[in-house]
Symmetry: C2
Subunit: 264 residues, 2 copies
């Protein structure tokens, strides 16, 4: 297959890739995103299908893992960028050398939602990626993001998610208060003043976990829409958890309870 080599910043394809890399608005408008690195591209291929286009840095063409990927996806359009241009598309210090353009997948919601996570104004991309990753591993069905959350399809969040984006239904710009009110199960918010310990609440049924903004926590209106305020017991001398750590503790306490419920 003849491969197109692009080394000019004026190239229109390069310009559209750069917009996708840098602008959440552009990703939303076009319904597309860029995946950085072999791991994410393989995860997308296995769970959703092949990407629309592969973009390789000139210097990376002969890397074994890039070569393997190209051999696996012989029918996907391929362009090669000069290393300087490629470097401008990726915020990573050590570029992987390969990107893929994909359509934003909209995974269907299961008919009966068992577990969702409601993320309110979560601003740190690292936290958001980690929460999506934990949720996918714990078998959470869906993540609903409020307006004001970091863009779920930004390069940093995709990297942190490590493939979770293709295993979990993600919905952005969701009215979380309405979602909480409509939810057919417990809506659980964690709070230092929670009336019950996370470990004493039955989480084995249908549950929505609410995770709030890193600084401000969960808004009053969303707290009021919750059915349960739980506290994570903290016997240490600091009463404080990172949002992503608190989410992981909640998700996996549910995993534990369901396993002990199902055990003989």
């Amino acid at each position: 297959m003849p491969v197109k080599l692009i080394s000019s910043r004026d190239n229109s394809l390069y310009k559209s890739l750069k917009k996708l890399a840098q602008s959440a608005r552009e990703r939303r408008k076009s319904g597309k995103a860029l995946l950085d690195g072999v791991h994410l591209i393989v995860a997308h291929t296995e769970r959703i299908g092949p990407p629309e286009m592969l973009v390789v840095a000139h210097a990376a063409q002969d890397k074994p893992e890039v070569r393997g990927l190209l051999e696996r996806l012989p029918d996907v359009a391929l362009i090669v960028l000069s290393d300087a241009l490629f470097g401008e598309l990726t915020p990573v210090d050590t570029p992987s050398g390969v990107l893929a353009q994909v359509a934003l997948p909209e995974l269907p919601l299961p008919q009966a939602l068992q577990c969702v996570v409601l993320l309110e104004a979560l601003q740190d991309p690292g936290n958001l990626g980690s929460i999506l990753r934990s949720a996918a591993a714990a078998g959470v069905d869906a993540a609903y993001l409020s307006p004001g959350c970091a863009d779920a399809w930004s390069p940093k969040v995709l990297r942190g998610g490590m493939g979770a984006h293709f295993a979990l239904a993600i919905r952005e710009d969701v009215d979380l208060v309405a979602a909480a009110q409509a939810f057919a199960g417990e809506v659980v918010v964690t709070s230092l003043q929670g009336e019950i310990s996370l470990f004493d609440l039955d989480l084995s049924g249908t549950v929505a976990f609410v995770i709030g903004n890193e600084g401000a926590g969960v808004s009053q209106t969303l707290q009021q829409a919750a059915t349960r305020r739980v506290r994570i017991p903290m016997p240490g001398e600091v009463e404080s958890l990172n949002a992503a750590a608190a989410a992981a503790v909640c998700f996996f306490e549910r995993v534990r309870q369901r396993q002990s419920t199902l055990a003989p």
Copy 2:
């Protein structure tokens, strides 16, 4: 108290602060670090004592929270930096306007260690800060860091720790294999191939948790020094957790087990 205003990059005090802000080697050599923001400075003051020096940005002198801090610490040496100089000392996009120079606290180890975390070549400062924060909240006694870990006293790790650095004994450049071999309890490493579920292992006694590098995981030699390989059950479609999320799940499963053991 007359306050010194510094606006020259050639000022020797400014130069020493800048080294402290930027260089792990300098922090180690001098045994000092910089704390950024009122929250960390108050946490240090309450748990360790007042800082050696306060550094305020010219524009921040009249912020109520900065003013309150200065009134609380009237005997601490104070310097004021021009906003441009202050901005060069802090990597944060929205500077707090106040820094403190402190001696690196070396919190004593308890006589009988109940729970420690061994961190091997953990490289992401956000992960490291989050793990220290979770550990302090869960009542872990100490964190041992291998060579190759991110510097525990860098601005990013301090920010992520949210005061954990003053509630938890931290030791850097530790030979973790030797520490694991000398440890008087279970040494638990998580692994996708672990022979027992985290939820089925008795964690209520003396436990060391091993957390490995984000990419490479735990080294073979350290795995061999562990007494238990556990898996965190992941019913979802992705078998993968961020290091800080995995650590939080382990720490709080121990909290849960100890509470149910101690309950009447």
